[in-house]
């Protein structure tokens, strides 16, 4: 497949590197230095130019391309790029936008702007945040198989009872699969005899109630059964969407926004959210609103620095769970290292969604673990799949090393993945896969 990616920022380069192994990738960017660097660091053809201009797209060979991904930082440029590409050829177009408004317009007629699929980074980020709220100690949570299966990544604190146990001792929940252990940034498939230590992260896959039980076992101190008080700091697009989704979930959040006009706008459209208008670093005001007893705080301000400040402040005041939005991908580890529970990067979230679309035919859902060192994917098993009709213990050794079957959903039920379980055609299988072999695996399944 020939793929043209316009915009080689964090999202674009991330997608380019995950597609370059299996596809012919052309990358377009306005920055000549970045183009030169890409030409040497990845096996892709990088071209310098304005992605919305027809000459550049012609040079990139959009006419013969199968897929065009517009992923610059400007919504309008992305829409114009998709529109221009429709003049040249039949490529399937994916546009990344920030403003939810564009998404709503596109949803009315799915051919608007010449975009075939639209990914709204702000909305995806808000969805990601809302999924994590309520599972303290979880760093990442994703839903699979229409909500039947949940994948969660937990960090083991020093007081966790699991520290010192081996994987087989910790893995006592039926239907719950221990997929991997993350040590110092390395992804290791879970082996029964490896011992868990504080600071390590574990990835588990299973039904939501089991995952919740596991959360209680993993860190009894932090876990609570119900989350009631959530603060969203920052009324920008991400903050607004987060509050809206929390409302839908039945949690009525408080939203802090400094700008009076924006605060009024948010208050008018979100009836169940308590909108507070003050500076989020004003500790007196925070104290008045019982900020310190919040179950979760979401820092969704414009700048990374402010988000870091707010989350650290919340942590110091004793907030159980702090989630910060971080725009610069490299800071994510730093944020989590200094005590922020979860740092969510809108760009990574967007890259995940776009990569999933590029594997549309087989992959129903996909999420990256540790900046795409591994992936959790959901596939519907087709008749020619390597998994279909054979017990797991026979099919897995035939695939490249680095795959764990996390969960199997058959119709509306879960089937426990054991060695003798036979996977049937039509089953939805949730797999944990080493990123290096992900493309190979999706092709085989």
């Amino acid at each position: 497949m020939r793929v043209v990616i316009v915009g080689a920022g964090e999202v674009g380069s991330n997608i380019a590197s995950s597609l370059a192994d299996a596809h012919d990738v052309v990358v377009v960017d306005v920055d000549a230095d970045r183009v030169e660097e890409l030409n040497y660091s990845l096996d892709v053809l990088a071209i310098q130019g304005d992605g919305a201009s027809i000459e550049t797209l012609e040079e990139a060979g959009v006419g013969d391309a199968d897929l065009l991904i517009a992923s610059t930082d400007h919504d309008e440029t992305n829409l114009a790029t998709c529109g221009t590409s429709k003049v040249l050829g039949e490529a399937f177009t994916i546009a990344r936008v920030k403003q939810v408004g564009f998404l709503r317009t596109w949803e009315r007629t799915s051919s608007a702007f010449g975009v075939d699929f639209m990914v709204c980074s702000n909305l995806l980020t808000a969805e990601d945040i809302v999924q994590i709220i309520g599972l303290p100690a979880a760093v990442d949570v994703e839903w699979f198989a229409n909500g039947l299966v949940q994948m969660a990544e937990f960090e083991l604190g020093p007081d966790s009872p699991l520290v010192g146990q081996t994987v087989s001792e910790a893995d006592q929940f039926e239907f719950l699969t221990f997929a991997a252990v993350l040590r110092n940034g390395d992804v290791e498939l879970a082996r029964g005899d490896s011992t868990l230590a504080a600071g390590e992260r574990v990835v588990v896959i299973g039904p939501p109630e089991r995952v919740h039980q596991f959360a209680l076992t993993a860190s009894p101190a932090a876990a609570s059964d119900d989350t009631e008080s959530v603060f969203v700091v920052g009324g920008g697009e991400i903050g607004y969407q987060t509050a809206r989704l929390l409302q839908e979930r039945g949690i009525n959040p408080r939203l802090i926004e400094e700008d009076p006009e924006r605060a009024r706008e948010v208050a008018e459209s979100l009836s169940k959210t308590l909108v507070l208008q003050f500076d989020a670093t004003d500790t007196d005001a925070l104290e008045r609103e019982n900020f310190d007893s919040a179950d979760a705080v979401v820092a969704a301000l414009e700048s990374d620095q402010e988000n870091l400040l707010v989350s650290l402040l919340a942590k110091r005041l004793g907030v159980k769970q702090t989630i910060a939005v971080v725009e610069t991908g490299e800071y994510r580890d730093v944020f989590e290292a200094v005590g922020v529970d979860v740092a969510v990067n809108p760009r990574v979230v967007t890259a995940e969604e776009i990569t999933r679309i590029t594997r549309e035919e087989t992959t129903e859902k996909l999420t990256f673990i540790e900046d795409d060192r591994a992936e959790v994917i959901e596939v519907e098993v087709s008749p020619d799949s390597a998994l279909a009709g054979v017990p797991i213990r026979e099919s897995i050794p035939k695939l490249p090393a680095g795959v764990v079957v996390g969960a199997i959903a058959r119709q509306r039920d879960l089937v426990s993945p054991r060695g003798d379980t036979v996977i049937e055609v039509g089953d939805h299988v949730v797999l944990f896969v080493d990123a290096a072999i992900a493309e190979e695996i999706t092709a085989a399944i």
Binding site: V26, A32, Y40, L42, D43, V44, L45
Partner: protein, 534 residues
């Protein structure tokens, strides 16, 4: 001391290339079988290269090639294939103990320095020779074919070929090709670097085959009596790489005018950027005529040829008398005088052939240009510095660099009058990055410094052993090896050889050819401590 360079990763990849060198060695082996000659020189070399290659491959498991490792890998590959490539020549002269007696003990390539010189001259497509006697009496046909084949392998680039074939080189491939390919930077033609490499080699192979067919066609139709199958293949293998080796002692003079005319367009093609052929074949032929470098290239060849054709036609271009001792005598001079002076076709042909051969750094000769007058020879010496296009198989400084230098010098003059003016240097309408311009200046300066320093060294070394060498001779010897041209003037002229130089001078020229082919920096940087330090 811990080294910053992961030399094991680089050597591992060198090992892979060496291992596959056994494949092209099959070709002279088949030639040997056909002519009933000994296959032992090639069988032994194949065994050595496979064993050494597999040994080096064990050094590292999963090589990670960065910029530094890339330089080392490319430079080391060229040196390693030269060492291996010299083995057949040495075996021919010395034999193999207990297995085979020497085939041609009189061969000058029995001296390891000579064998190294000849092989490096082959792979780097220089075409300078140290053979004492170019004939099938003193060398077997298969050995002579191996000498031709080294040039063909080196032409489009051994590493480029490796990138085209070996999947493990796909990620660092762009870096490696950049270190090897002539000209500033490479042009990716396709999303995958391996496909780009394959496209370049495809065009190269296609043109080579076309030339062989045409040359043999002339023979069949009776227009080139000496161009038999062996010669057609031998010259096909050394034209497209701008090599210049010929199994004929008199180079292309041994063939008919028709054969000489056929070779000219192929030399021109060899000096052209191969990416342009790819554009032509993929349906964008306008790229060829729009290309600034290609137009300048044809312009330069046209102007110099026209001038030299004029002086040859008038008779001022030839020497007035043959020297007492030299590569040609009075009889030869009189023969060429009657043939050329006052005759349009011969003066055009001799001028165009020599100019194209020198500008593209091929190094063929359709006559002994030692018989030209001194001013015309200086014209050719000047042409040795021009070189072919970037992305061609030619050597020397390259047209595109000269073009950028001249344009940026003009800008300097302009900004003297208008100090505030911002004037980017444009190449075919696109602004050239200032860093790239600085790189071009640095390369050209380094090239000229190497030229002057080496001329001095060769002159001193020749005086040490009492070998008489004129300044023009030593200058042309350096320009011809550093620029991968091949023949120079006087003793090192097209019908002469580099045999009389001392071993130390020859080894220095081996270094010059190596540097010249890889455009100095990838080799030079290996000799700087900063490269190796953490």
């Amino acid at each position: 001391m811990k080294l910053r360079v992961d030399y094991k990763a680089s050597l591992r990849l060198v090992g892979t290339v060496l291992k596959y060198l056994a494949v092209p060695l099959c070709f002279p082996l088949v030639v040997a079988l056909y002519y009933g000659e000994s296959v032992i020189p090639f069988v032994v070399t194949m065994a050595v290269t496979v064993l050494v290659g597999m040994g080096l491959e064990r050094l590292a498991e999963d090589p990670d090639i960065g910029a530094r490792e890339g330089f080392l890998m490319v430079a080391a590959t060229w040196f390693a294939v030269t060492l291996v490539g010299a083995i057949p020549f040495l075996i021919e002269a010395h034999g193999v103990p207990f297995v085979m007696a020497a085939l041609h003990p009189e061969s000058t390539l029995g001296n390891p320095a000579n064998a190294l010189f000849e092989t490096m001259s082959g792979f780097t497509t220089t075409g300078a020779t140290v053979l004492g006697d170019i004939s099938f009496e003193s060398h077997s046909r298969s050995i002579m074919m191996w000498r031709q084949l080294t040039q063909w392998l080196g032409g489009m680039g051994i590493v480029v070929l490796a990138v085209a074939i070996l999947p493990e080189l796909s990620v660092g491939g762009a870096q490696l090709m950049d270190a090897e390919a002539p000209g500033p930077g490479i042009e990716k033609l396709t999303p995958r670097i391996a496909e780009t490499a394959r496209a370049l080699w495809g065009a190269y192979l296609g043109l080579t085959v076309l030339e062989i067919v045409l040359l043999y066609g002339l023979h069949v139709t009776g227009n080139a009596p000496n161009m038999d199958v062996y010669n057609a293949i031998a010259h096909g293998l050394t034209t497209m790489p701008t090599g210049g080796f010929s199994p004929e002692a008199r180079s292309i003079e041994a063939f008919s005018a028709a054969a000489q005319w056929v070779i000219v367009p192929f030399m021109v093609a060899a000096g052209t950027n191969f990416a342009l052929f790819w554009h032509v074949l993929t349906g964008d032929p306008k790229r060829l005529v729009r290309d600034t470098e290609f137009k300048s290239y044809l312009g330069i060849i046209g102007v110099i040829s026209a001038i030299l054709a004029g002086v040859l036609f008038l008779g001022d271009g030839l020497a007035s008398a043959a020297p007492a001792a030299g590569t040609f005598d009075q009889t030869y001079l009189e023969t060429v005088q009657t043939a050329i002076v006052g005759n349009v076709e011969p003066s055009l042909r001799q001028s165009i052939f020599q100019v194209v051969s020198i500008v593209t750094t091929t190094g063929y000769a359709s006559m002994d240009f030692n018989a030209w007058s001194a001013p015309t020879q200086y014209g050719l010496l000047f042409a040795m510095f021009i070189g072919g296009s970037a992305g061609s198989t030619g050597g020397a400084i390259k047209i595109v660099r000269w073009y950028v230098i001249l344009k940026s010098l003009r800008r300097e003059l302009f900004t003297t009058a208008h100090p505030e003016a911002i004037r980017p240097v444009r190449l075919a309408g696109r602004a050239v990055d200032e860093r790239a311009i600085r790189g071009i200046y640095a390369f050209t300066l380094l090239y000229l410094v190497m030229f002057f320093v080496s001329t001095g060294l060769l002159h001193l070394d020749a005086a040490r052993i009492g070998f008489e060498l004129s300044v023009l001779e030593s200058m042309s010897a350096v320009a011809a090896t550093l620029g991968n041209v091949g023949p120079g003037f006087g003793v090192v002229g097209p019908m002469g050889s580099y045999l009389d130089f001392s071993n130390s001078s020859k080894l220095w020229m081996v270094l010059l050819m190596w540097m010249g082919r890889l455009e100095i920096l990838p080799v030079f940087v290996l000799f700087t401590p900063e490269y190796w330090r953490r």
